[in-house]
Every structure is written in C-alpha cells, then in structure tokens.
Amino acid sequence: MNSVVLPVLGAVVYIVGMRVYASYIDRKVIGADPKRATPARMYADGVDFMPTSRSILFGYQFKSIAGAAPVLGPIIAIKWGWLPGLVWILLGTFFIGWVQDYTSAMVSVRNDGKTFGGISFSFISPRARTILMTFIYLYLLLIAAAFTNIVANALANAPRIPLAIAMLGVAGVIVGYLIYHGRMHLAVVTVIGLALFYVALVLNGQFDLKFGSAHTNWLVWVVFALVFSLFGSLLPIWSFVQPINYLSFYIVLIGMAIAVLGLVVKHPAMQRPMLTGFTVGNMPLWPMLFVTIACGAISGWHGIVSSTGTSRQLRSETDARPVAAGAMFMEMILALIALAIVGITAAGTTGSPDQLFASGLGSIFGFLHLPEKWGLAYGPVLIAILAITILHLVVRFMRIAANELMGRVLPVMRVPAIGTVVALILTFVLVITGTFNYIWVLFGSANQLMASLALMIGSIWLVSEKKKAGFALVPMVFMYITTMAAIILTCKQLLQQAFTGLSLAGQKLPAGQVAGNWIAGTIGVVLFVAALVLAYDGVGALLRFRRAETTEKGVA
C-alpha cells in the first residue's frame, strides 16, 4: 500500500470525527454553551486563569501532548505489522482518544478549573486523590525510565550526534540568558541558538563520539541524560528547560516537515509486512498493542494537560472541541506519519526505535535528493530531542511531586536537590537493571490506566449531571480491562523471571536483570492495586450518583 494513504486516512477520520461525532457530543450531550462563563473568564487572574485565543490554545495543547511517545509507539508496534497499528490509531482516536481529552477539559471547566486531584476528591472519595497522586508519581518514574533509555540508545547508536545534543543544552542556556538578561530580539536569539546546534551537528558529523565498550558507552549516555535532567530540575525554568524546549521545537519542525514533504513527493509503498502475527515474541497483540501505542490513539497524559492547563485558558466552552479534541486528532496524524516512516523501511530492518526511525528518515532524505547520511543522523537527533525535552520536565515534576507527597512525613524531601536526586536514582536503577521492552509496556500501561481513570472521572461527572455517559463509559471499560490485562501479563512474565532467575527461554539471567525484573514487577503490582482501589471507589461513586438520580425520578 502507498504510505501516503495513512495520513490521508487520518485526515478523513479527523474531518468525520470532528465534524460529526465530536460535534454531536459537544452540542447534544455536553451542551457546550458559548454564553456560560468559563473559569478563565470568571477567575481571570493573569496567572493560572487566562482567556486565550482558540488557535493559540490549539498549538499549546498539541505541543503539550505530542512528545516522543506518538512517534515511538507506532515504531515499536511495527513488530506486529503496520495494519494493527493503523487500525488502533484510527479507531482508538475516533472512539476513545478525543473523548478522553475533551471530557477531561469539560469536567474541569464545569468544576471551576479543578485538577483531577480535586475532582476525584469531591466526586469519588478522599483516598482516591491520594492514590491518584501516588499513581501519577509512578507514572512519571516510568516515563523517566523509558525516555532515559530512548536518549541513551539514540546517542549510543548514533555516535555522530551526541555533541549536538550536548550543544543544545549549552545553546539553551545562552538563549535563555540573551532573552531575559540581554533583552535581544527573539528572532535573533533563535537564529543564534539554532546556528550553535547545527554547527555542533556538522562538527560531530566528522568523528565518532564514543566511550569504551558498547555497554560503557551506553552507560555514559544514560548518565548524560540524567545529568541533563538534573540541570532541568534544579535550574530556574527560564534559564534551561524553556529555551531548550523552544529551540527544540524548530529542530523537530524542520525534521518533520522534511519527512512529510518526502512522503508526499515520492509517496513510497509500505515495505513492512501488513501483519506479522497475533503474537510476536512473548507479546500478544491484545492487550499489548493497545499499551504499546498510547499517545497517537489515547493517552492519560492528555487528560492531565486538558484538565490543568487548557481548561483554565478556554475563552469559551465551545472552544473545548477544536482545542482538546482537535489536538488529539492532529496527534493521530503525527502518529500515522511516524508509522509511515517506519513502514517504508525494508522488511528485514531491525534495531532499536531510533535506528528504525533513522533508517526511514534516511530513505526520505534520499527521495528529496538530499544526502541519505543526513537523514540517518537527523532521525536519532529527533528521537533524542523529543525524549530529552520531556525527560528533564518529568524529573522536575517528580521533584515537585516528592515534595508534596512526602514533604510532611520526610521534611528533607522539601529540599529541591534531594527530591531531584531521589528521582534520578530511582530512574537510574530502573534503567540499568530493567529491560526496555518491559519498561515501555509498563509506561504505556500506566499511561492507559491514567486515561481510563480520566474517562472514569468524566463518566462519573456525566452521570452526576444526568447526561448520557455511554460515549465515555464504554471506552473506559474497554481501556481499563485491556490495560489491566496488559499489566497482569507483564507482571506475570517479570515476576516469573525474578522468582526463577531464568529468562522465558530458560536461560540464566544476570543478577542485575533479576533485580530489574523484581523492581519493574513490583511497580506493576503497585499500579495494578492502585487501579483496582480507584476502580472500586469509582464504581461506588457511579452507583451513588445513579441511585440519587433514580430516587429523584421516583420522588418526581
């Protein structure tokens, strides 16, 4: 099949989803009212609550939700063939993804801009909030471990790019200084920052930057990613994280624009098999595909963004659909482009996600008569940047979360450096002992569980408001069952290997990997138990509101 068909199918689903399904839910079920004051208007404090233009918010929402995961998920899932990924991305977004993003925003809008913590406290139970916050901390830990792995693999596998990634950090500091202290024009500063980055990329293109053996080299880049995150967590946000993410936006935009242009100009055929089987290795298609591709189809992260940042900036309730749902459909197209890029690589090509992406991008550069080696270098650059820009933010959030969750019991956790170091040590241990595939699946599972919990909160709110809840309730049940099944399967494999000290193929495992299986398996069990308790409380809340509705009807 022609690879361009994928984004074209995405465009069709975008139009039908937005114009028909989302529009119907927005008007008839939720009843978005342009005259009703949103929290942004009611509490406009110029800080958290700020009425913002729909187009700006659309860009903000898209940038906040579209990180490395919508690109990496489809690449990892190509092992089942491109068709399962394609079907899940299209149907997942149409029936589940946008519902979660949009409902999360609307629940918050109709509840004074409260976050999930506050909403779960008032709608579900007081303990639901505590469990949810602990759950989110573990979720952040898994993101950190998965993305550290991605960065280290990309830098270790492509020894001609690490200098550029390190330079991105330096350029970020310079850009931050020039903007806030030098008061230079943003355009000039942007050119300086990008020039520094590309000069470093060209320079590094002349030699390999490697340290010792393959494992030592990989370990060096793991430490590099964590030190980068240490700066991201401890330095003022304007001096490191923000300028780096700002510059990265242009670097990624250039890469993705070339990829899209190449696909459109050459429209190559998909080389990968359509379906390789229903079980690949020890991973059955159901439920594993549905947690491997999270962002791009549905992701819990989106619910958090919608209910905290976006809901407090919506100028009108009618903006929630184009912003929250629209950004989700847009992300679906990004995931389809990633699927197309990896789909055009030769059928036998193997390697880590960054290598597969690099291979696809290399071919695309070739289609545009650009040197293929540029594409081979730019692929890992994109993957490393997409991952590291999320990673340093996540470690920062983990530091803040540690302060809030443990600050009262352990006052030392209020010290930013301690919270950061704890987060980094936990991430380091998980990365060096864990297996990437399992960490990715656990990250995806935590993400999807978060999504089903967001849908649960949305469903409970809909029932409490006496609105039709089926459009959120059915996806919630599907996502919950699927994700719990994925966690059970993953934990079973991890703990079986931890108990026996043998791999699934029966080979003896090194002590470090056994420890890694214990740690990852335990995290999986904690996620499972937390999700069970939340579901128990959630069902209780749902029945409570349902009973109240029935009683009201009886009285009437």
């Binding site: 800080v47 913002t52 187009s55 918010l57 659309f58 860009g59 905290t308 940042g309």
Partner: protein, 93 residues
C-alpha cells in the same frame, strides 16, 4: 462569540490562525511560566504585606495601610489563588 468577531476584524482568518498556532506551540508555555513566576512573586509580596486579611499578620498595619492602595486591584485574585485547592498536577501544564 464577541471575541471571535473582533478577532476576524483584527486579522486575516487563516494567516492569523496559523501565526497563533505556531506561537502556541513555540512560546505560549514560556509566556505562561513567566506570568506564573511574576504572579508568584506578587502574591508572596501581598502575603507579606496584607497577610492579616487571611489571618496571618506579618507586617505592622501602618505599612500595610500605606501599601493598600497599590494592592487593592489584586486582592480578590490573590485571595482566591492563596486559598485555592492545589496539587502537584497544577505544575504539569
């Protein structure tokens, strides 16, 4: 709705939307964080000077009264921001 009409008058539909979209992706979060930082500093300042409004007397009332006229416009949003329920997900987006 009124804002939409005003927006249409101000700029050319697609071009303006595209410009705002790129700004939203590239720099809106930076602007938001800058506002949040300024807001936090201002709210801290008001807490020190006008804390007795929330039952936390810090500064002698004489100085608070001298500063009161400058702080009045922000008092309502400050109170709401200080007393609003918060958790760490507030910092995520």
């Amino acid at each position: 709705m009124g804002d939409d009409k005003k927006d249409k008058k101000k700029g050319f539909g697609l071009g303006k939307n595209l410009k705002e979209f790129v700004y939203g992706m590239a720099a809106h979060d930076t602007a938001r964080f800058a506002l949040k930082t300024r807001g936090s500093m201002e709210h801290l300042f008001i807490l020190i000077t006008m804390g007795d409004m929330l039952g936390i007397p810090i500064l002698p009332p004489y100085y608070s009264l001298r500063l009161l006229p400058y702080v009045v416009p922000q008092i309502s949003t400050w109170k709401r921001r200080m007393l609003r329920e918060k958790d760490f997900t507030d910092t995520l987006a």
